[in-house]
């Protein structure tokens, strides 16, 4: 069974540009989660999508946005990039519904570097 996949592996951008990160969940999973892992910090919750809808978002500015497609894959967009956006962005997927009860399966991450 294929795991969660993310692309690209690495992404280098300059300040002010936009970045688009992609995630494909495990087959059968309808929930997708995005996390930011900055150096020395734990995972910071960004967004949760389920069945195409944004269910919750973390304490991040509106320039962090995303969407979930009908095939449950997801995209994270970061506009007006700032240096402190440099981090590893992790995507996870789980079965539908309440994330309290469903294990999240993580992808390898996208390393975003903002110069």
């Amino acid at each position: 069974e294929a795991g969660v996949t993310q692309s690209p592996t690495h992404l280098i951008k300059t300040r002010g540009q936009q970045a688009t990160l992609r995630c494909s969940p495990i087959s059968g999973h309808t929930s997708v989660y995005w996390y930011q892992q900055a150096l020395g910090l734990g995972l910071q919750f960004l967004l949760w999508y389920d069945e195409g809808e944004e269910r919750n978002r973390g304490n991040f500015p509106p320039r962090f946005s995303g969407r979930q497609f009908p095939n449950y894959s997801s995209e994270l967009n970061v506009n007006a990039l700032e240096l402190e956006d440099s981090a590893l962005y992790l995507c996870a997927s789980s079965l539908w519904g309440n994330p309290s009860y469903n294990e999240q399966f993580f992808g390898p991450g996208t390393r975003l570097t903002v110069l």
């Binding site: 795991g3 969660v4 989660y33 996390y35 020395g40 910090l41 734990g42 995972l43 910071q44 919750f45 949760w48 269910r55 919750n56 973390g58 992790l90 996870a92 309440n98 994330p99 309290s100 009860y101 294990e103 999240q104 399966f105 993580f106 992808g107 390898p108």
Partner: protein, 114 residues
Amino acid sequence: AQSVSQHNHHVILSEAASLELGCNYSYGGTVNLFWYVQYPGQHLQLLLKYFSGDPLVKGIKGFEAEFIKSKFSFNLRKPSVQWSDTAEYFCAVISNTGGFKTIFGAGTRLFVKA
């Protein structure tokens, strides 16, 4: 504010030593608790979880954790560590009062000396 604290950022142990990693959270309401592990070069994966019932939960690879509600704690333990337990360990909490956001601790890097 809702938060998860992991007290030890780096832990170094010799093989066969006992392990206890601390995790405390500040939440009201019902919580579900998790420990995730990231081995070198691998993805984050679930080690164990607590939803309800017996506060002592057992996970993979001989790990266990105890939920102590009065102390808002969910410490991870293993009686005898192996070199292969070298990894980074993350405690995570989901609360129904937090809109089911998963809040992770900062992680603890464990290095086990052979």
